[in-house]
């Protein structure tokens, strides 16, 4: 599916990735990068360096020894976690304008809930360790288009929220009427502009209709489920007070049943409490 001209025009107006985040991303995708290379990039950005150390020393990871060097933090946290932190910190601080119709802070809490639930679900459903790191960032950024809208297209966002109320539509349905694309497409296009991995882009772009995610269908289904569970468990607020029913294909793909869902929810509730420190680090 090709992006509409309207979407391309909007994407043009959105920010590019800051140099330091872009370079960390390149290093993570490269075969030959070392912790020393990542350290060289991060150390030049004092704010990011401080965040990396806070993350490494946070209760979220619970390492017993105090981590004082960036290189050490990169080694123990892993390249992907560092990339995810740099990316999350940028996005979280770039898009935080609160509008009367949309509470950005509550939306970030919802997004953290999706990330935590997706990570918990990926373990319960036997995803590989490799996938587990990817689903956390997929969950955290699944709705980055919504927060980008609040910062860069506040009039569109207001119009969508009005339309949603007046016509009794879901957020995505109202968006398709107002500007011919939905936030999942916008989020995907933004991650594409930032040259993030194709798998992550596909998962975010298709999380509302995971059957269209091709080879990434199972991961997209997981984020789709986690979005619904994060709302059901009242983690923050997704920007709409009703939830669209789960895709039957996603249900079948993940082979869900009462026991598995209960276990995923219980685990998410525990992990969410632990992870709530994450937003403070950003």
């Amino acid at each position: 599916m090709k992006p509409t001209p309207r979407l391309l025009e909007k994407i043009e107006e959105l920010p590019t990735l800051p140099d330091v985040v872009a370079r960390v991303n390149q290093l993570v995708n490269s075969e030959s990068a070392t912790a020393g290379h990542v350290n060289a990039v991060i150390s030049r950005d004092m704010a990011l360096s401080a965040k990396v150390l806070r993350m490494a020393n946070s209760s979220f990871y619970g390492f017993s020894r105090r981590i004082t060097s960036i290189t050490h933090a990169v080694v123990i946290l892993g390249f992907k976690t560092i990339r995810n932190l740099a990316l999350s910190a940028f996005v979280f601080n770039a898009f935080k304008r609160k509008t009367p119709a949309f509470d950005v802070r509550a939306f970030w809490i919802h997004s953290l809930g999706v990330a935590v639930t997706a990570a918990a679900a990926s373990e319960e459903l036997g995803f590989s360790i490799h996938d587990r790191e990817d689903v956390f960032i997929g969950g955290l950024l699944h709705g980055v288009g919504k927060v980008a809208m609040s910062e860069y297209m506040p009039e569109d966002l207001e119009a969508v929220c009005r339309m949603m109320k007046e016509k009794d539509l879901s957020f995505a349905e109202a968006e398709r009427v107002v500007h011919e694309f939905d936030y999942a497409e916008l989020s995907g296009a933004l991650l594409d502009k930032w040259s993030l991995p194709p798998g992550l882009i596909a998962v975010v772009r298709h999380h509302l209709d995971p059957a269209r995610a091709g080879e990434h269908e199972r991961t997209a289904s997981l984020v789709h489920l986690s979005d619904i569970l994060s709302r059901a468990l009242l983690f923050g607020c997704a920007g709409e007070d009703r939830v669209t029913p789960i895709s039957p294909e996603a249900w079948a793909t993940l082979r869900l049943d009462r026991d598995i869902l209960g276990r995923i929810m219980d685990r998410s509730l525990v992990e969410f409490e632990r992870a709530s420190a994450f937003l403070d680090i950003l």
Partner: protein
């Protein structure tokens, strides 16, 4: 108001908390003014809380309420707040699922979420856990 520090193992039914009991993560486990029960004591122990502050005069040496005061049938402020909170939470979840119609999958997710969110809202012990 005066406060008394007592060890969790000495909690008796009817003692009233002077302060919120907050867990290391920042979550309030029990709010100030909660009238303590055996379940609360078990819950505090489970979370490793060693002592709490109670309102002076509600402890073991508290004089019995004068006959005719009748306060014991009214809910405490904390109990009232919890009931209110539970009703709000229930309303929010029901509204959340109002688009789901007859969808069986959503009905299951709805039921599982209500069970869990209720448990958190009321800080009830886990299902199957018995008070000592």
């Amino acid at each position: 108001m005066d406060r008394e520090r007592i060890s969790t193992s000495r909690i008796e039914e009817g003692m009233i908390l002077a302060d919120d009991v907050t867990l290391p993560g920042g979550r309030v486990l029990l709010a100030a003014e909660t009238k303590l029960t055996k379940n609360h004591a078990a819950q505090l122990k489970k979370h490793g809380v060693v002592h709490v502050f109670i309102q002076a005069g509600t402890g073991p040496s508290a004089p019995p309420a004068a006959p005719g005061e009748g306060n014991e049938t009214l809910p405490t402020a904390a109990e009232y707040r919890l009931t209110q909170r539970l009703a709000e939470v229930r309303e929010r979840i029901d509204r959340l699922f109002s688009r789901a119609g007859e969808d069986e999958r959503m009905a299951l997710i709805h039921a599982l979420a209500v069970e869990r969110v209720k448990r958190i809202a009321l800080h009830l012990p886990e299902a199957g856990e018995k008070a000592p």
